[in-house]
């Protein structure tokens, strides 16, 4: 997270959404956060279609075997500095899928996670709250520099 951190980084975060096997619940809540009612675009946050344009990676789902490498690749493709926000409990700990033969998660087992959003699925406000947490974390890192 701290690598190559500049002061302007946190102003308008562009997010890339990566689904690693979630049930769609968290995914639609992320989209709901972008839609008029919650409208995170007022903070400069928007979803982008390519990891190379993104500052934030929103990960949902418990990471299946097939997607392990792909998630890592998406993470590596993102330019530094980057923030990873894990949305929903199945990415945090596995949730109802905690015992399985086809999962390699939780997400922090595969890529480093900065902020965990707890909820199944979290409300859009909880996702916004997580972004605020990420800002605070970035500011603490900035202050240390």
């Amino acid at each position: 997270m701290a690598k190559g951190l500049t002061k302007a980084f946190k102003r308008a975060l562009w997010a890339y959404h990566c689904n690693t096997g979630s049930c769609n619940g968290c995914d639609i809540e992320i989209v709901a956060a972008l839609c008029p009612r919650y409208d995170v675009e007022r903070f400069g946050i928007k979803l982008v279609g390519s990891p190379r344009h993104a500052d934030v990676m929103l990960v949902t789902g418990p990471v299946t075997r097939q997607l392990e490498k792909k998630v890592k690749r998406v993470y590596e493709q993102m330019p530094d500095p980057k923030v990873v926000i894990c949305v929903g409990n199945c990415g945090n700990t596995g949730d109802v899928f905690y015992e399985s033969y086809n999962l390699v998660g939780p997400v922090d087992n595969v890529i480093p996670v900065d902020v965990h959003v707890v909820g199944c699925p979290p409300r859009p406000e909880a996702i916004i709250n997580a972004v605020a947490k990420a800002w605070v974390k970035l500011e603490t890192l900035e202050a240390k520099k």
């Binding site: 102003r11 008029p36 009612r37 919650y38 409208d39 007022r42 903070f43 400069g44 409990n89 945090n92 700990t93 596995g94 949730d95 109802v96 905690y98 015992e99 922090d108 900065d114 902020v115 965990h116 959003v117 707890v118 909820g119 199944c120 979290p122 409300r123 406000e125 909880a126 996702i127 916004i128 709250n129 997580a130 605020a132 947490k133 800002w135 605070v136 974390k137 500011e139 603490t140």
Partner: protein, 133 residues
């Protein structure tokens, strides 16, 4: 044929925006400072969309009432509840919970309930705030 969306889109310009401006209208320059201001009462956060009655949020555990019957552990779909053998009490990891409130239904002494707190996000998934015991 026509563009039937034009009318509604035009009318929308004269309507009040529907956005719920949580937590602030725009991103503050410095979030840490802003939050400190809020703590000191200088600034105010916009509240989130109100939760209804019986909303399924963070679990509240009444330790005194609990009799250690382990029924909640039996029905929990996510293995979120851990039994503390010594004390005969339970420990709930919120990061594993799926907020189904099945444990509340099954509890024979009603020691579990659901609050309306849902803004749960942390840098550490097993932080103190996210464990109920």
């Amino acid at each position: 044929m026509g563009f039937s969306m034009l009318g509604p889109a035009f009318l929308q310009m004269f309507k009040k925006p529907w956005t719920n401006k949580f937590p602030a209208k725009y991103a503050p320059k410095n979030t840490t400072k802003y939050l400190a201001d809020v703590g000191a009462g200088k600034a105010k956060l916009n509240p989130p969309v109100a939760t209804p009655e019986k909303f399924r949020g963070k679990i509240v555990y009444d330790k005194e009432k609990c009799i250690g019957c382990k029924l909640c552990i039996r029905v929990c779909p996510c293995g979120a509840i851990e039994f503390k053998e010594k004390e005969k009490k339970i420990k709930i990891y919120l990061a594993r919970c799926c907020f189904c409130s099945q444990c509340n239904d099954v509890c024979p002494v009603d020691c579990l309930s659901m609050s309306d707190e849902f803004l749960l996000a942390d840098t550490d998934k097993y932080s103190k705030d996210l464990i109920v015991e």
